[in-house]
Symmetry: C2
Subunit: 370 residues, 2 copies
C-alpha cells in the first residue's frame, strides 16, 4: 500500500509550486483508465497540479505511462483492495484498510495531499472520511455540497446537504449555512454569498420546527460570517438567481438533487426524440447544432461534477460514479481550486469562530440568568 518507489514524490503544497491531489483510481463505474484520463486532462490544463494515485500499482503504471501530461507528476500508492458500489459503509469501516479508497484518504490525513478525489461508493467514502479524517471541532454532522445549474452569473448554486445524513437539526442547518457560504466564497469567489433555507413556502409560519428554529438562528451569525441570509426558499428557487447557497437536510437535498437530474434527463431525451422525428427536424437540429451544444454545455452535469464533503479535517471531493474523463477532470479541478484557496483552513476557522460566538452568547445568557 505504501510503496512509493515509482516516479517522483510530489512536493507538499507550499513548496513553491504545485498542489497535491490524492486520487482514488478505483471504484468508479468506468474503471481506472477513465480516472487516469481525467487526471491527464486536468494536468494538461493546470500546470500547478500534482497527484498521488491509489490502486493496483502495475495497472496504474501502465495507464500513466501512456499520458505525457502526467510524466513526473504522479506518485503511485499500491492498493489491491477496491470498495465496490454494493459494499455497505459498515463493512467498509471494518474491512476497508488496504483499499484504494482508504489509502486515498490516508494521504490527506498524513498531510501529503491537500484534497482527495474519489468516484467510489458515496456512503462508504463518507463513513471512511469521518473515521479517518474526523469531524472538525464544532461540526456535529458533516455535509455533502453539490452544484446546481442556475441563472446566477457563476452559472450554478451550491446545495447542501445532499446525502451525508438524512437528519439535520437547527444547529446542523446553521453549520451547513456557514460551511456552504465558505465553500461558495473560496470555490467560486463570491465575496458575500446569499444563503437560503429550503422549505415548502417562503412564509415564516411554514415548515418543520427545526426549520423555524434555524430561520431564527442563521441570521444571528450572517454578519460575522460574511454572508447574507435571504430566508426561506422553495424547490423552484434551486436554479434561481436570488440565492447562491441552499441549505437543507440530507434526505430532502438528495431527493431534490435526483429529481432535478431526472427531470433534466427526461427533457433532454424528449428533445432528442423530437429532433429525430422528421427529416425536416433532423435538418433543423443540424442548423441549430451550435446553439444546442452551448445549451448542453450549460446544463452538462459533467461540467459541474463533484460533491464536496464539508465539515471534516480535510477536503474530499466525490465524483459521480459514472463520470467520464471530462467529469473526473472537473472534480479534480474543483479539488485543486479549493486546495489553492486554502479553503480547508478558512472553513475550520469560520466554524471555530462561530462555535466560540455561540458559546459567548450562551455564556452571557447564563450569566444574565444567574
Amino acid at each position: 500500500m505504501a510503496s512509493a518507489d515509482s516516479n517522483t514524490l510530489p512536493r507538499a503544497p507550499g513548496d513553491g509550486d504545485g498542489v497535491v491531489i490524492s486520487v482514488d483510481a478505483m471504484g468508479g463505474d468506468r474503471g481506472p483508465a477513465t480516472v487516469v484520463a481525467g487526471m491527464a486532462e486536468s494536468a494538461g490544463k493546470n500546470p500547478g497540479i500534482r497527484f498521488i494515485v491509489h490502486g493496483p500499482q502495475a495497472e496504474l503504471e501502465r495507464l500513466i505511462a501512456r499520458r505525457g501530461d502526467l510524466a513526473g507528476r504522479c506518485d503511485i500508492r499500491d492498493a489491491a483492495g477496491v470498495v465496490t458500489m454494493d459494499d455497505k459503509p459498515s463493512q467498509v469501516l471494518r474491512k476497508g484498510e488496504g483499499t484504494s479508497m482508504w489509502s486515498t484518504l490516508e494521504s490527506v490525513r498524513q498531510g501529503e495531499a491537500t484534497a482527495a478525489v474519489s468516484c467510489g461508493n458515496t456512503g462508504a467514502l463518507m463513513a471512511l472520511s469521518m473515521l479517518r479524517l474526523r469531524k472538525l471541532p464544532g461540526v456535529n454532522r458533516p455535509a455533502i455540497a453539490c452544484l446546481w445549474p442556475s441563472r446566477n452569473p457563476q452559472g450554478f448554486n451550491v446545495m447542501l446537504d445532499v446525502g451525508a445524513d438524512i437528519r439535520a437539526d437547527a444547529q446542523d442547518l446553521l453549520t451547513y449555512a456557514l460551511m456552504g457560504a465558505s465553500y461558495a466564497r473560496n470555490g467560486f469567489g463570491l465575496e458575500r454569498p446569499r444563503v437560503g433555507l429550503l422549505n415548502v413556502g417562503t412564509e415564516e409560519h411554514k415548515g418543520r420546527p427545526e426549520l423555524k428554529q434555524a430561520h431564527e438562528l442563521i441570521p444571528t451569525t450572517a454578519q460575522a460570517a460574511n454572508f447574507d441570509y435571504v430566508g426561506f426558499v422553495e424547490g423552484g428557487d434551486l436554479p434561481s438567481a436570488r440565492v447562491d447557497v441552499i441549505v437543507t437536510d440530507g434526505f430532502t437535498g438528495n431527493v431534490a438533487l435526483k429529481t432535478g437530474e431526472g427531470t433534466a434527463k427526461l427533457v433532454g431525451e424528449l428533445l432528442k426524440e423530437a429532433f429525430g422525428k422528421s427529416v425536416m427536424s433532423k435538418f433543423a437540429a443540424l442548423l441549430a447544432m451550435g446553439s444546442l451544444k452551448r445549451l448542453q454545455k450549460r446544463i452538462d452535469p459533467r461540467r459541474i461534477n463533484g460533491g464536496v464533503f464539508l465539515g471534516l479535517n480535510g477536503t474530499v471531493v466525490k465524483s459521480h460514479g459514472s463520470a467520464d474523463a471530462t467529469g473526473v477532470s472537473a472534480a479534480i479541478k474543483l479539488a485543486f481550486r479549493l486546495a489553492q484557496s486554502g479553503f480547508q483552513d478558512r472553513l475550520a476557522a469560520r466554524v471555530a469562530q462561530s462555535v466560540a460566538a455561540a458559546g459567548q452568547i450562551n455564556g452571557s445568557k447564563e450569566s444574565e440568568a444567574s
Copy 2:
C-alpha cells in the same frame, strides 16, 4: 350566497345525463374571466358536464352569457367574498363563510355536485375542505396528489403527498399508497398500479424509521387493494416507467414537485435563448416547430394541471393559481373523469376495507397474545 334563480338548476349526477362540477370562479391569479373561459372549453369537449359556479353573480352572469357552450348548463351561486393568495388558512377557517371557496365546497357537501374545482390558495382550500367535507373514516392525514410527466404509456405518474401536511408517519404513508393506487386506477384506467415509496436509495437499510416501517406495512395490503408495491424509489424515478404512483410525505413531495417544475422551466428558457441566438438557429427553430410543439405539449404543465385532494368526503381538484383557460379546462376534465368513474365511493370503500383488515390483523394478534 344561495340565490339560484338564474339559469336552470343542474341535475344531480345519476339523473340520466350530466355530471355536476362545482367551480370556484375566484381566487386564481387571472380572475373569473379565465375560469369561465376554461369552463366553456371543457363544456365544448364534454357534453355530459354541468356546472355550479361560485362568485359575484352579476359578473358571472355577464361572463357566462358570452359563452354559447355554457348556455343552460350553469347555475350561479352568488358569493361576494374572495379568499386571496395571502390569506392564512387559520383566518379563512374563521372568516371564510360567504367566500366563493366556501360556497364551492358547500355544493359538494350538500351532494349537489360530485366534485369541486378551485384555482385559489392551496392551504386555505385544504383547511376549508377538511373543515367542511371532513376526513374519510380511517384517514388521519389527507394528501394532495399531483401528476408528473413520465415515460409511462399514460404519459405521467402520480405523486402524493405534495403539500397537504409536512409530516407523515408509516400509517399515513400506507394510506397514501391506497389512495394513490385508487386514484391511478379510476383516473387513468390503470388496472393494477405500481406503487413506490420515495427514499434516498433503493436499499432496504436506508432511510428514516417511518419509511422502513411503511416499507414493511405497504406490501401487506397490496394484494387485497389490487396494486403492486415496487419498493423504494429515488428522485430520479419520478419520471420513470418503473412506477405509476410515488408515495412520500408532504414536505419532500412539495420540494420535489417545485424542484422538477423549476428545472424544466430553466431548461425550457435556456432552450428558447439558444434558438434565439443566431439567424441560423432561429431558422432551425422554425423548421423544427412541429417537433418542438409536440415536445412542449408533452411536458406542458397546463395539460396535467390539477392537484387532487384525497382522503376527504368529496373530491376536490386544486388548479394552479396561474392557470390559463386551457389549464382550468384540464383541471375540470380531471374532476369530471373522477366524478364519472365513481372514484369517491371506490376510494372510501378501499380505505374502509383496509382499516377493517388492519383491525382484524391487530385483533387476531391480540387474541393470539391473550
